[in-house]
Symmetry: C2
Subunit: 376 residues, 2 copies
């Protein structure tokens, strides 16, 4: 099973609507592949907030409208911020019936707002207990960060460094939300507080964007990238139901299963995409993915091990923090970056000769995790 | 591939919340099967409006919370009113990896309303062109009904008869939304107009409810029902994009493919569940499913052919009109009824010795269609 085409839009505060974003990504992915739309057997569309923000659901039918004459199966998947890695996972099972399946993730978050954006995003968390008590996402991840910092005896400096590295990476990615923005360590340190200890630069932005990926049963060209594994796992939705706040069991379970299926260990990874919705989640993921132990995470980051020329390059596209976080497209954006890196087509941000990459995409506070391992 | 367990809640204006409805259906399906929750390899959750109405998305993680200790793959599917037949279809592909998969459809529509219900439901249609021009669902189906009545030279009497038959059927289904309600032909004829020519009794109600179905790779008991085919197709979302308003191409394509896979013809069907969101859609479906030609639909209904003791019993549970229409659960409710009928467990509404049943579940104005064929 191969990825035979990838396409995306720029991420950011864009003037395009939901349809235009999805259409652009689909056309780009088809252009990137050797395939014609008529060779696509089914489509998955991944999106989180089009109901509450755009007032539009039934996106599978909306996609049918974008491509006149298409009556093939189109399925919408929603699993919060993990929507697109889960859609990708489902497409793999569905591929038994078709030669090629297209997966498109799309989110239009700015300039809309049937409901306030923060209110809408909080629907990824528990609205029965957590939300009424103030646990919108920055607050929930702040609680987690407080506990993590206490437990592992670290201070905010390390989170600032994570943010800085992601912003530096985005300066080499012309499609990134913050490609244009020069960000200094001083700016990060002095940014306004959002929910202590998380300041503005610990939080990923509100972005518009879309990404499409084409999955093919058989190899279509030398640029195709192999799907070594895709696994998903779930966990409880409310923080009140968690015993351990500083580790996400869904990441642990899905990554363990994925390593097994791909027959690799974390040491074999040449490039990693981590779901850094907040800087703290990058630290948690490094441990949950088995890259290093909890006590070693700080050192790993300080040593420069997650830089482009280090042993574990992380978020070379800028991550959610600086590439952007158009929620229903984020998991596919990670896959886009790994494909581009494995093909050695990322120009200035290219990692030296990568052979295996992993993407970790989580929903809510780790209530869903999708792990994808790709290789050449 | 078999259905080894089915369970549902009562449909109607209920006091239960989203979690309670889903939980009750899941427990009932497990009770109905010989399986324990630990034998379920993955779960699909189908829902349409939990974001706009309940303010809760990420329902796959919510389901994980309902069953402590469960970290298995859980996937939410949304394709408007066809959400649950599409989730069922996807579960079939996923079953290659597991022995048993549970599919739960749930919708909580009353007593909630972060947004007005009619506004929320309109998200199944096109919000760019149709909605701003007043085409909420009753209006869109009224346009279709006007054209259908003109084209086929029928009057409202035949729609009233469809409504009456569905209400009569629901009087034999204790779990139906309108089980309690004696409905006369006079009441239907004189009901208040909603959108001409559709009056109140042409429109399905706003219902709460949940249904769960367990799909098993191997036969688990003599009560298991065989899945003969499941197919889905899509079409454009906006009425402005349709050439023909009086036929839904997605139903035609999906049913043709399903008949082929099941190796049957429409004449082989012993029981049919039709998506009568509005009475007019039942007439359209009878033609689109190939039960009879457009010019014969009226006669078929007047002859009593769709009654329980006729050659093509339709909506023995009361259909969407009288069993109810908890949107994300509706497709599974149809499957529930067919399973119950094929097992001959429906008591007073039992059809004589049925062997093959078909369910037609559409989303929006036929923008999605899921067809399921089951047999003993």
């Amino acid at each position: 099973m191969y990825i035979s085409g990838v396409g995306r839009t720029k991420f950011g505060n864009l003037s395009d609507n939901l349809q235009e974003l999805a259409y652009e990504a689909i056309l780009n992915a088809l252009d990137d592949s050797n395939l014609d739309i008529n060779e696509i057997g089914a489509i998955f569309v991944s999106n989180f907030l089009s109901g509450p923000l755009n007032g539009q659901l039934h996106l599978n039918s909306m996609i049918s409208s974008l491509i006149p004459g298409i009556n093939i199966p189109i399925i919408r998947v929603e699993t919060a911020c993990a929507s697109s890695s889960v859609a990708f996972n489902q497409a793999i099972y569905c591929l038994q019936n078709y030669s090629n399946i297209l997966i498109v993730g799309v989110e239009k978050m700015t300039g809309v707002g049937l409901l306030p954006t923060t209110d809408a995003i909080s629907m990824a968390g528990d609205r029965t207990y957590d939300f009424p008590n103030g646990l919108i996402f920055p607050a929930a991840y702040a609680l987690i960060a407080q506990q993590y910092m206490l437990k592992n005896n670290i201070n905010h400096d390390i989170l600032e460094l994570v943010s800085y590295i992601n912003h530096q990476n985005s300066r080499l990615n012309p499609l990134a939300h913050f490609y244009y923005k020069e960000v200094s360590k001083e700016m990060i340190k002095n940014a306004p507080m959002i929910a202590s200890p998380l300041n503005l630069f610990d939080c990923s932005p509100i972005s518009d964007g879309a990404v499409a990926v084409i999955l093919s049963k058989n190899k279509t060209s030398d640029r195709d990238v192999k799907v070594m594994s895709s696994k998903i796992a779930t966990d409880t939705i409310s923080l009140t139901e968690r015993i351990n706040l500083t580790s996400f069991i869904a990441t642990k379970i899905a990554s363990k299963q994925a390593y097994k299926e791909a027959q690799i260990t974390p040491a074999d990874l040449d490039i990693i995409e981590i779901h850094d919705c907040f800087t703290i989640s990058e630290l948690i993921a490094l441990e949950d993915l088995g890259i290093c132990g909890a006590s070693e995470v700080s050192e790993l980051i300080k040593n420069g091990d997650i830089l482009r020329d280090g042993p574990f390059p992380v978020n070379t596209d800028g991550g959610l923090k600086a590439n952007g976080h158009p929620i229903g497209a984020t998991g596919l954006a990670q896959i886009f970056e790994i494909v581009a890196q494995l093909r050695q087509e990322t120009e200035k941000r290219q990692v030296d000769n990568p052979e295996i990459g992993l993407a970790q995409n989580i929903g809510g506070i780790g209530g869903t995790c999708g792990i994808t391992i790709l290789g050449v």
